[in-house]
Amino acid sequence: MATFFGEVVVAPSRAGVDDEESAEEAREETPEDREIRRELEKKREVDVLWTLKSGASTESSADEPFVCSKFIVAIGHNAAAFLSSFILDSVCWEVVGVAKLWNEWCRTSNTTNVLPTDSFCLFYRLISDPTVLLCQCSCYVAEDQQFQWLEKVFGCMRKEDLQVTILSTCPVADYKTQESTLTLPSPFLKALKTKEFKEEVCCPLLEQPNIVRDLPAA
């Protein structure tokens, strides 16, 4: 499809497979190629570290999945800032985990004492109800890391009776509508929900043909 004014085409090729990429794959992979590919994959691995009650950090896969009733995920700088301004505070919430990753766009910072301008991905737990978890993910999780992030984070929690809420933002320029985007109400909220979500949604549902992509979609 042709791009229209304002669309930012991320994929280099609509065909999905660059001709150079397929030509590269066509020749046999040498041991050096394999080594380089493995190193790159290792560098792009997502590490999720949980801090248990005892204070010791541990690899996510080692332990039993923990019970979680509500999991709120804020993806992107705006959503993360919203949580910092209105929800999070050091009295009611404690840091229980961190996700570390690297890609061409960002590297997550190492500390848990982060500045709003840092790239980070932290997990918090409500002290008064430890089954309520919150994630602030202001770093960009690349396409090839999204699935891994998903599996590693959700792999640690029990999924029965779990309610997940995802907060995210998209540029208004990406919103497709017949009306002018200048007249849209503010705050402009839209929602997507699974059929299992039975509660009332606080804003209208996202109409066709709009879509959500990347980590919120994953």
């Binding site: 499809m1 669309e7 065909a15 090839d144 699935f147 997507l192 990347d214």
Partner: protein, 264 residues
């Protein structure tokens, strides 16, 4: 990989033995995907499941084939499977591009799913860059087909009757050695890989493709879906060939919003 929907119909809805699997390749102009949208929308096919895969860019939205308020709220993701048992047809729709280096694993998994679900044959809708055509291909029909040897035995004769044109092979080393010919489908995405793998695995596969360029590819999608219809007879052929297909509601605003009045 394939996750069936919970429709209360039990496993009956995901039994594809003997069915024809129709699917698009993500290719130039997205023609295969648009044509597949037309098939699903016109035949009012029921979603029976999706592919849980890390090979495609994630995306989610509300039902792209919604016709009314009531059916517009079902979530839809990047790789979904629809079925129409009355025509023994199962359709896989792919809505987003492949993640780098992931298209090979996807093809492997897809073909083993085809084998394990015992689909009788696969029809792949695709497209190829129009600017790569040679002098002869510039004339006549822009539509081509390919059949794996196993399917050739079954339907090769029918293709002759329909007067269809087989995709030509090109010289492997043009200008240097014109005798060695290979299959070359520029802009076809995973088409060539799926086709060659199907040949070697004994899967009955047909590729239907159209030469086109990026642009408004809706007419290309109609041409491709009518081409498909000549063979599979999914809908009754009418004189006005575009009126028999129903355009899905998600095709609105394909080229962006209207002009903002503030511009003037």
């Amino acid at each position: 990989m394939f996750v069936p929907c919970d429709r209360g119909g039990g496993s009956a809805s995901s039994d594809f033995k003997g069915f024809t699997l129709l699917m698009p390749a993500v290719s130039v102009g997205n023609v295969g995907q648009l044509a597949t949208d037309l098939v699903i929308s016109t035949l009012n096919m029921t979603k029976v499941g999706y592919f849980y895969t890390d090979c495609l860019v994630p995306m989610v939205g509300n039902n792209p084939y919604a016709t009314a308020e009531e059916n517009s709220m079902e979530l839809s993701i990047n790789a979904e499977v629809y079925s129409l048992p009355s025509k023994k047809l199962v359709v896989l729709q792919i809505r987003s591009p492949f993640i780098k280096n992931k298209y090979r694993p996807f093809c492997q998994t897809l073909l083993s799913w085809v084998k394990s679900s015992k689909c009788a044959r696969v029809v792949l809708l695709s497209s190829s860059h129009a600017y790569q055509r040679d002098d002869e291909q510039l004339l006549g029909t822009p539509l081509r087909y390919l059949l794996t040897p196993d399917l050739e035995k079954a339907v090769g004769g029918l293709m002759q009757e329909l007067n269809w044109k087989e995709m030509e092979k090109v010289a492997a080393y043009p200008g240097i050695n014109d005798t060695e010919k290979v299959l070359h489908i520029p802009g076809g995405g995973i088409t060539k890989l799926l086709f060659t793998e199907s040949c070697s695995k004994g899967i009955q596969m047909a590729v239907l493709l159209k030469f086109c360029s990026e642009g408004d590819n809706i007419p290309d999608a109609f041409a491709l879906v009518n081409y498909l219809n000549e063979w599979l007879q999914l809908v009754k052929s009418e004189v006005n060939t575009s009126s028999q297909w129903k355009i899905p509601s998600s095709w609105r605003l394909l080229f962006g919003n209207g002009l903002p009045p503030a511009l003037f």
